[in-house]
């Protein structure tokens, strides 16, 4: 597993800060926000990785950095962590042909396209770098990782807005089940914290604007004072492997992906269906796929973005699906600490589910001080992480366009 998040670089670093109740949401300082309504974001902290920070030079040569958008940089860093952590090291072409990559992004090289457009307008087409297109293309995260490691199996990249990371993991697992690969490096990466990104989501009235002076309080899922999501950036990548293949090489198995469910809202381009039917069916389909019942779920990592509409719709769907068992689960939104990583959210949060199972600790929903009345009856793990044995965890991701994905993991047997 590999992570680059607003809480730091590295799985342990991010996880320890997450369960300590720390926030990665800060006031934006690296570009001008004076005329933007939202001035806060989950920004990846710069610094040496020995101190838990992110330094591009540690992952990609300066020469190659010019050829890629920041989302690809994050993908390479997280994928490198994941591959090295997995111990996968193919010795022959035959083995390399059985290892694929499926890293998606919600938006891809948005900042690269923004700067390219300005160059085109101000200086003309002769000043557009030959690396403009490959720097911006979403599937180039998968491309770079495959080139770095010589992984010659399926090379793919899903794009489903904020469900991308979850879809990547679910789809990659199915490629393994279908026999297309033995190992898949899968997940999502995003780097849309930029002037154009903030301006675009602000225009859609999706972002929090009321906590610009207290950034760490801005992302507050289910809280009465919530007023939109806080954008985050980073990447979450896992190495998925066919069970016998992993056992044979003596790999450390963190978890088993036992369920994957998808659905479409067929409702609205940005708003979730009001009855929560899309999320409900994604979760139900994942449970069916896993062949388990709701009472086996211990923890739900919610999509929970901190928007006025979405949070309660998701909670309503969970309550309807889980029935009496809803009172026994823990459900939290880790977006309260890192913001919404869009196309990386699903894979980052899948890793949080796996860490919750490993350590028997569920991460908190920060800033949940005054829960909305409809929240009664479900433990939303307010403010502080808590100890809880987690055998099975479910992770939800819902995206613009009405695209939903749920993943179910169980602790390694």
């Amino acid at each position: 597993m590999g992570l680059v998040t607003p809480l730091g670089s590295g799985v342990e670093r991010t996880w320890q800060r997450l369960i300590a109740g720390q926030s990665g949401i800060v006031g934006i300082e690296h570009f001008d926000v004076s005329d933007l309504p939202a001035k806060i974001a989950g920004v990846v902290p710069q610094g040496p990785s020995s101190e838990g920070g992110f330094t591009a030079d540690e992952w990609v040569s300066t020469k190659d950095q010019r050829k890629m958008d920041r989302f690809i940089l994050y993908a390479i860093a997280a994928a490198t962590q994941a591959v090295e952590n997995s111990g996968v090291s193919p010795q022959s072409d035959e083995e390399r042909e059985r290892i694929g990559v499926m890293i998606g992004s919600g938006i891809g090289g948005l900042e690269t396209i923004y700067h390219g457009s300005i160059t085109l307008k101000e200086q003309g087409p002769r000043r557009i770098t030959p690396f403009f297109i490959p720097a911006a293309l979403i599937n180039l995260a998968s491309g770079h990782v495959s080139i770095k490691y010589g992984f010659k199996g399926p090379n793919h990249a899903p794009v489903t807005a904020c469900s991308t990371g979850a879809h990547a993991i679910g789809d990659a697992a199915r490629l393994i089940m279908f026999g297309d690969a033995d190992v898949m490096v899968a997940g999502g990466a995003e780097a849309a914290v930029s002037r154009i990104g903030i301006a675009g989501f602000s225009a859609a009235r999706a972002l929090s604007t009321g906590y610009n002076d207290t950034p760490e309080r801005g992302s507050r899922p289910w809280d009465e004072g919530r007023d939109g999501f806080v954008m985050g950036e980073g990447a979450g990548i896992v190495v998925l492997e066919e069970y016998e293949h992993a056992k044979q090489r003596g790999a450390t198995i963190y978890a088993e992906l036992i369920g994957y469910g998808m659905s479409g809202d067929a409702y609205h381009i940005t708003a979730p269906a009001e009855d929560g039917n899309g999320g409900f069916r994604a979760m139900r389909n994942a449970l069916r796929n896993a062949k388990i019942s709701v009472d086996q779920i211990d923890y739900v990592n919610a999509h929970g973005t901190s928007t006025p509409l979405g949070d309660e719709i998701e909670l309503g769907a969970v309550k309807r699906l889980f029935g009496d068992h809803a009172g026994k689960i823990a459900m939290s939104s880790t977006k309260s600490a890192i913001g919404h990583l869009l196309g990386a959210a699903g894979s980052v949060e899948a890793i949080f589910c796996i860490m919750a199972m490993r350590d028997g600790i569920v991460p908190p929903t920060l800033n949940l001080e005054n829960p909305s009345p409809t929240c009664a009856g479900v433990d939303l793990v307010p403010i502080k992480a808590k100890e809880k044995k987690v055998r099975v965890a479910l992770s939800n991701s819902f995206g613009f366009g009405g695209t939903n994905a749920s993943l179910i993991f169980t602790a390694a047997s």
């Binding site: 020469k63 010019r66 002769r126 000043r127 030959p130 690396f131 490959p134």
Partner: protein, 78 residues
């Protein structure tokens, strides 16, 4: 004269991420310095920017070594 050569070499070192010692005048961008076709396009753009000149595509194709670049820039400045 040597000023142009130094500036050209500096750009090559920066853009291709190679050791300064390897950037001799005879060095070929692709064969000796590990550049690919996109790298050479970007190099030519960097030369244009540094020296405020325009290098047409047909001339750019002929710039294959460090010396080719220095010669072209010196000629266009003359």
């Amino acid at each position: 004269m040597s000023d142009v050569a130094d500036r050209v070499k500096k750009i090559v070192v920066e853009h291709l991420g190679v050791d300064e010692a390897k950037v001799t005048e005879e060095a070929s961008f692709i064969d000796d310095l590990g550049a690919d076709s996109l790298d050479t396009v970007e190099l030519v753009m960097a030369f244009e920017e540094e020296f405020g000149c325009e290098i047409p595509d047909d001339a750019a194709e002929k710039i294959q070594t460090v010396k080719d670049a220095i010669d072209f820039i010196q000629k266009s400045a003359a």
